[in-house]
């Protein structure tokens, strides 16, 4: 092995470097200048994100434990973009006095989860995968409990760590069965020996359940709403977008590489789970008044839609999943960005009824939220329309017309509750609407990036073409 081979791990090494730099800044800056950590970190991370797009070598490391290809790099870049937007959006909130002492913690914890996700995506065997998965989830519990003096926040942290530990346990059990029956943990070796004996199928189901926890598929979604509601808004947005995106990526890779032999089995399972996830997520979202819980259930139903791309295991399917996650990052972060800005400015107003008459006082934020919600609902001309359309095309390509019909009917239900928020902002009248407030430059920049992404990604066909050219299937 040569030293240059470590370049394959460029993303991971850069992120590790960033963690070290933020740590050094934290140690050597005196208290008055702590706030300067924010622009520096954002600037550095923006540089890291851009470097990620430079052409990079592909190949495997450590005898196949670590692998990287164009698709892996694309996935990591997408996660980087998501994390960058979260960093920018969180800047104003981190400036609050209550967060003054723990600015760098926020960055370090998020960066470490990002390292975990990158290793997880690039993993070539189940050990590396599990390692990455744990690194990606444990710091999130700390992040969820970030509001030290809020009961709800600590509750969210505890709930997350418990459910995460349980799901990891279940998954590990499954992985041990895979090792027991195939004698290997390497993806390619397991894939070639795996025949689908009953024990192996059981192992798959345990693995599936573990992943379902991370992606919050129904019926493994119960932690989602509570954790999303309790955690600070910016953590929730990270959790709902980047964390979920990473899990979906590796899930679709493992399904088509390791479990290709039992494809009909997992396609049936995903068929049912996807319908459940979409429908139940949607039905619960209708009843919510807290906007974070609302977005939590909306993100559950979005997970159901993403599964539409996974189910076929085709090239088009994987491309549409990756593309949709990219679009989803901009849409959901656009929505959460507005929620975070309002929550920070008003000291925690997070109910949909608080948004009554928002358009009169804050038209810019209202339009941003409207565009983001339209994108989540799949309304043109914003990017969500294209994302959903490709997912639907991918599922129809495999002939699942019944599933397609259920899915499109679910988009109508989702449109209903997204419109409820739009209605609150534009149509409902309120005696005490949220007063006009000015956001700082970071928040504006964060939202502007989201809007630009929403408008551009759909019409710029080369993005989808590029993702399609990298993707692979069964």
């Amino acid at each position: 092995m040569r030293l240059e081979d470590f370049l394959l791990m460029r993303h991971e090494m850069l992120l590790t470097l960033m963690v070290v730099i933020v740590l050094i800044m934290e140690i050597f800056m005196d208290d008055r200048h702590k706030r300067c950590i924010r622009p520096w970190t954002i600037g550095l991370f923006a540089a890291v994100t851009i470097i990620g797009f430079l052409p990079a070598p592909t190949g495997t490391l450590f005898g196949g434990m670590f692998q990287t290809s164009g698709m892996h790099l694309m996935m990591k870049n997408i996660l980087n973009i998501g994390a960058l937007i979260v960093f920018i959006q969180a800047a104003q909130w981190l400036k609050l006095d209550s967060n003054h002492n723990k600015i760098s913690e926020f960055y370090i914890l998020i960066l470490s989860t990002l390292i975990g996700m990158n290793f997880m995506i690039s993993s070539g065997d189940f050990l590396m995968f599990y390692l990455g998965l744990e690194l990606a989830s444990i710091p999130i519990a700390a992040l969820a409990a970030y509001d030290t003096f809020s009961n709800k926040s600590s509750e969210a942290g505890i709930k997350f760590i418990f459910s995460s530990a349980l799901s990891s346990g279940i998954m590990l059990y499954g992985l041990s069965m895979i090792y027991g029956t195939t004698g290997s943990v390497y993806f390619d070796q397991v894939g070639s020996v795996y025949t689908g004996t009953p024990l192996q199928v059981l192992a798959f189901i345990f693995f599936f359940a573990g992943m379902a926890f991370k992606i919050s598929m129904v019926p493994f979604h119960l932690w989602t709403a509570d954790v999303y509601e309790g955690a600070p808004v910016n953590v929730t947005s990270y959790l709902s977008v980047v964390s979920k995106g990473a899990a979906v990526f590796i899930f679709s890779i493992i399904l088509v590489t390791v479990f290709r032999v039992i494809a009909p089995l997992w396609q049936n399972v995903i068929w049912v789970i996807s319908v459940l996830t979409m429908t139940i997520g949607n039905l619960f979202a209708i009843r919510q008044n807290n906007i974070k819980r609302f977005l939590a259930f909306s993100s559950i139903s979005q997970a159901g839609f993403i599964l539409l791309g996974v189910i076929g295991g085709s090239t088009l399917g994987m491309a549409s999943v990756v593309y949709y996650v990219l679009v989803y990052i901009f849409s959901n972060l656009g929505a959460f960005g507005v929620v975070a800005a309002i929550s920070t400015a008003t000291g925690g107003k997070e109910n949909i009824s608080d948004y009554d008459g928002l358009y009169k006082t804050n038209p810019g934020l209202s339009w941003t939220l409207t565009l983001a919600l339209f994108s989540l609902a799949g309304i043109p001309p914003v990017a969500g329309f294209f994302g959903k359309f490709f997912l639907f095309t991918a599922v129809a390509e495999q002939g699942y017309y019944a599933l397609l019909t259920i899915a499109v009917l679910n988009t109508i239900v989702s449109l209903y509750y997204y419109l409820l928020v739009v209605k609150a902002m534009f149509i409902n009248k309120s005696d005490h609407p949220i007063a006009y407030f000015k956001s700082d430059g970071f928040t504006k920049l964060g939202l502007a990036i989201c809007i630009a992404g929403l408008v551009v990604i759909g019409f710029a066909s080369p993005i989808f073409e590029f993702i399609k050219s990298l993707s692979f299937g069964l």
Partner: protein
């Protein structure tokens, strides 16, 4: 830049201009300028189209341009028009132009109102010029969403309920449509080769029958919901009556037609076998629409509801004629689309103006308006007479052609359907004349009515322009029916080829 794309660019530039405007006056005039350019473009398009045809260009779609958009899925931005879409584009530009003047007195949030209105029109224009199913669908959805805000914010009555009901039902239609379109895409190359969303290319292949049986109802019902097909028409009366004037005009005038146009262009043109096999179900439904809508209109007391139900009835006639699947009836159907579009826009414009003066739309609470606002009164009578099919107006030409065409079928089923549908003409006369009698004639109901002012210049402009169009088509229908007729030939041939094989 090709000519047709201007129909999308001009409205978008207008929207951009409105964003930059500083006060209400600028907003209105920007909208007027933009939509006037659009109207001139449309008029020029009609002349250019007729000139091309005269010069012997027999291509199915003229001004055809094809740009690759998503090579991976063979999604293209393909535009082109035939006589039917030219007629629809012209109709849309007339109605949006007059709609701007009809909404001169919008009270709050002017900017947002005109932006949403013109975005809605952009979607409609885009839909009519596209030949690619994906882009068509994109523009269709683009046309539906601004409606929610337009009705929800500027509407009257139970506006929130109506807006939500309308949006969800139309999106439900588009959901079915989406399944249909994706299904068509994957069946567009049964013999192998590149899959395509291109309408013309799909029309050349034979889609497998099993697929058609599933896809035809999907697309037909999907577009049918937008075209207020019984029993999925319930959004239409609520939506129309709650919407602000210009939106009612555009909606009843153009969007209902958009549904019909889609049902014809996508469902029937691409899947003729299924249209023959399953057409009878929809023929029954449309016959019910025609009669039910007319009876519904008799029952109502609110002017807008009356007109909404009459739209259900008249538009039912369009679909009824299309499903007759012969050239004469289809000719009449397209004529009816244009004629009813202008007529109903005139009606809704007048109702909006009357409501703005009397502050009620319940006919029993008004009376004697002819004496106090004669211009609007006369215009209302003209609209009414055109609507019940008086010779000399566009409605007569269209309905006459429809029934002549549908009578050509000799079997009992079609005969009975035709006779039932014909009865709607009488019922139409009942509700139109009843309204005119109560509303316009008789003594002036309240003293303060004498202080009402007659139409202002912008109202006269809007109403006068529409009346000229109605009378123009009524007196000289031939150029329009020729333009439509030429383009119907390939469709009718395709539909009839099937029945000969059987």
């Amino acid at each position: 830049m090709d000519y047709l794309t201007y129909f999308i660019i001009v409205p978008l530039l207008t929207v951009f201009g409105i964003v930059l405007c500083k006060n209400d006056k600028q907003v209105k005039w920007t909208a007027v300028i933009g939509m006037s350019i659009q109207l001139i473009l449309a008029a020029a398009l009609v002349f250019m189209y007729l000139a091309e045809r005269k010069a012997g260009n027999m291509a199915e779609f003229l001004f055809y341009h094809d740009y690759m958009w998503y090579p991976a899925l063979n999604i293209r931005y393909t535009i082109g028009v035939d006589g039917i879409s030219v007629a629809m584009v012209a109709l849309t530009s007339v109605i949006i132009f007059t709609g701007i003047f009809a909404s001169w007195e919008v009270t709050n949030l002017h900017k947002e109102f005109f932006i949403s209105l013109i975005l809605l029109a952009t979607g409609v224009f885009g839909f009519f010029i596209c030949v690619d199913l994906f882009t068509m669908f994109l523009f269709y959805e683009l046309a539906v969403i601004p409606m929610y805000l337009l009705i929800g914010i500027w509407g009257t009555g139970p506006k929130e309920y109506s807006a939500m009901k309308l949006t969800l039902m139309l999106m439900g239609g588009s959901a079915l449509l989406l399944v249909g379109l994706i299904g068509l895409y994957f069946n567009s190359a049964p013999g192998g080769g590149a899959l395509t969303f291109n309408l013309i290319e799909i029309s050349k292949v034979q889609i497998p029958m099993e697929a058609q049986r599933f896809l035809f109802p999907m697309t037909f019902v999907g577009f049918g919901i937008l075209g207020a097909l019984f029993p999925l028409h319930t959004w239409s009366p609520d939506g129309h009556s709650s919407a602000p004037t210009a939106v009612s005009m555009l909606h009843a005038g153009v969007l209902l037609k958009l549904g019909r146009y889609g049902a014809f262009r996508v469902a029937m043109f691409l899947m003729p076998e299924a249209a023959h096999e399953l057409g009878w179900i929809f023929l029954i439904l449309t016959t019910i629409s025609v009669v039910y809508g007319a009876f519904g209109a008799i029952q109502q007391k609110d002017l807008k509801y009356i007109n909404a139900y009459s739209s259900v009835s008249h538009c039912g006639l369009v679909l009824f004629a299309l499903l007759m699947m012969n050239k004469t009836a289809m000719d009449g159907a397209i004529m009816q689309m244009v004629s009813h579009g202008i007529m109903t826009a005139l009606f809704f414009a007048l109702i909006g103006m009357i409501y703005g003066r009397t502050h009620t739309r319940i006919i029993d609470e008004m009376g004697g308006l002819m004496r106090v606002i004669p211009f609007l009164g006369v215009a209302y009578v003209i609209a009414g007479l055109a609507s019940l099919g008086l010779p000399g107006f566009s409605g007569f030409v269209a309905e006459m052609t429809i029934f002549v065409g549908s009578w050509q079928h000799v079997d009992t089923f079609h005969r009975v359907a035709t006779i039932i549908a014909c009865s709607s003409i009488v019922i139409t006369a009942v509700y139109i004349l009843r309204v005119i009698g109560i509303l316009l004639l008789g003594p002036v109901r309240f003293d303060w009515y004498n202080q009402l002012t007659d139409a202002r210049w912008y109202e006269k402009l809007s109403v006068g322009f529409l009346i000229v169009c109605i009378a123009g088509i009524g007196i000289a229908p031939l150029w329009l029916s020729n333009m439509i007729g030429d383009s119907l030939v390939p469709v009718v041939e395709k539909l009839n080829m099937i029945s000969f094989i059987r």
